[in-house]
């Protein structure tokens, strides 16, 4: 709904929907909106307090930048309409896509009957306890400030250790290998986790040598789908087929790891780190798979397999799209 159309239509009816479930653009009690997500840039607060928002009233917009203040400043270049009212914006941060969704809340505007309203002190609208909670969470989430460029062997190991656990696609596939091994029992329970790192290293070597392997992301997504699909019905192929399947997908995971060594770090320790992390993820899968001995555990494992396969479908969609 445009600003003009909103003014012509008059104030919206009070919504009876529950808090938190209101669709975009619907009126809603004012303090609920998560304005606490904003950094208090002066021009931003001024603009918000004057009822200007990104885009049009009641609408929603997408900003394709990480710089919150810069993007919003750009959005505020839209000239304000004369009868602008009070308003707040809701910011939803999506870390993966680096997109922001903005929603202008029109409740104060509705209250004022579409007339201009006095400026809104945004920060005073936030309950102190929420601010305190937010600050506490931010303090807990603090990470070390690195004043110097990190280099050296220990950092290489940590980078390698971090790489397999930094992506959910890797994590789920590794754990699924462990789960499937636990379902199959000996000797697959140890043969698969032995087989995987060896072939993964070969994939890593291909990456290091610059050999082009097509469809890496698709292969990783397919590994999650097929390994999850194997755990779900508790598939029991022959050991050779199971090992071959796991080994085939290990190439894609290894290739992805092998091509992503940060500059200036030890290749050996990076390699050791990611092999170690991969092995530990298999170990986690095997440890979880020990619940196979109980009936309820078998059901849980099958559900976990279904979850992994489902996540694999999402990864595939992302890889293809």
């Amino acid at each position: 709904m445009s600003r003009t159309a909103f003014a012509e239509a008059g104030p919206p009816k009070k919504s009876k929907e529950k808090r938190g479930s209101a669709p975009l653009g619907k009126a809603e009690p004012f303090p609920r909106v998560s304005t606490c997500g904003f950094r208090g840039e002066p021009h931003l607060i001024t603009a918000l307090s004057e009822g200007r928002g990104y885009g049009e009233t009641g609408g929603e917009g997408l900003l394709s930048s990480c710089k919150v203040s810069a993007s919003l400043t750009h959005g505020f270049a839209v000239p304000p309409v004369p009868q602008a009212g009070e308003g707040c914006c809701q910011l939803i941060f999506r870390s993966q896509t680096k997109m922001y969704k903005l929603q202008r809340k029109a409740e104060p505007f509705r209250k004022s009957g579409g007339r201009a309203a006095p400026s809104l002190p945004i920060l005073s609208a936030l309950p102190v306890r929420w601010l305190t909670l937010l600050l506490t969470v931010l303090f807990w989430a603090a990470s070390p400030a690195y004043a110097h460029v990190q280099q050296g062997e220990a950092i290489g190991f940590l980078s390698g250790l971090h790489h397999p656990i930094s992506g959910l696609d890797h994590v789920l596939a590794m754990i699924a290998v462990g789960l499937w091994g636990a379902q199959l029992g000996a000797p697959a329970v140890w043969l698969l986790p032995v087989c995987f790192p060896m072939v993964m290293a070969m994939g890593g070597m291909l990456g290091l040598l610059g050999v082009h392997v097509p469809g890496i992301e698709i292969g990783i997504a397919a590994s999650a789908i097929l390994l999850g699909a194997a755990v779900m019905p508790e598939a029991r192929p022959s050991l050779m087929i199971a090992a071959a399947l796991v080994a085939f997908f290990a190439i894609f995971h290894g290739y992805a790891h092998g091509t992503e060594l940060p500059a200036g770090e030890s290749g050996l320790l990076y390699s050791m780190g990611f092999v170690f992390a991969t092995g530990c993820l298999h170990g986690v899968g095997i440890a979880i798979g020990t619940i196979q001995r109980w009936t309820w555990g078998q059901k849980v494992l099958r559900m976990a397999g279904a979850g992994v396969a489902l996540a694999g479908v999402v990864f595939m969609w992302r890889a293809v799209a």
Partner: protein, 206 residues
Amino acid sequence: MSKTSTAIESRLPVFFAALFAITLCPLRAEAHLNSTGLGPVYDGLAHFLLSPEDLVPVLALALFAGLRGAAHGRRALFVLPGAWLLGGFVGMAATTSRGSALTAISFLLLGGLLAADAPLTLRAITVLAALVGLFHGYLNGAGMGQPGVGAVALLGLAFAVFVLVALAAALVVRLRWPWTRIVVRVVGSWVAASGLLMVGWALRRG
């Protein structure tokens, strides 16, 4: 007053006399190892423990020897440090050390043997330990370069190798549950995988 406290009180004069005698003959506080001559020993020891290129193959060999049995472990325990020393002394006379690709192969070989739990004979283990010790010792010796200090450092390094092999092999020899031995083999596969990647790094550098 109890008997114990009485006995303690009666010994107090002797205790204080002994304390006084000790304070009369103080020794120099050797806060730095350079003055004791032991600095290079610790240098060598620390060098080994902080160098994964040396540490990991030794660990893999020790685990493998322990997996094969106590006799194999004992053989590796004495052959490996001895060969390391010998190789180190030879390496000191050399001017260059180019061993990254061969180090990768030692990772690959030892990790593969450990993962497969290959049934090597005692003689084969001896030869393997000697080759590994000579090769890695040579690289260490060539890297140290200085004959005087380097030789002492090599002693410290060989001592560290001895201790690590003794601990690791003894640990594996004592393992009884089948799954624990499988864990050791899985560690071997990790070493071999790292070796494969090292080959990739070496080939990439050209």
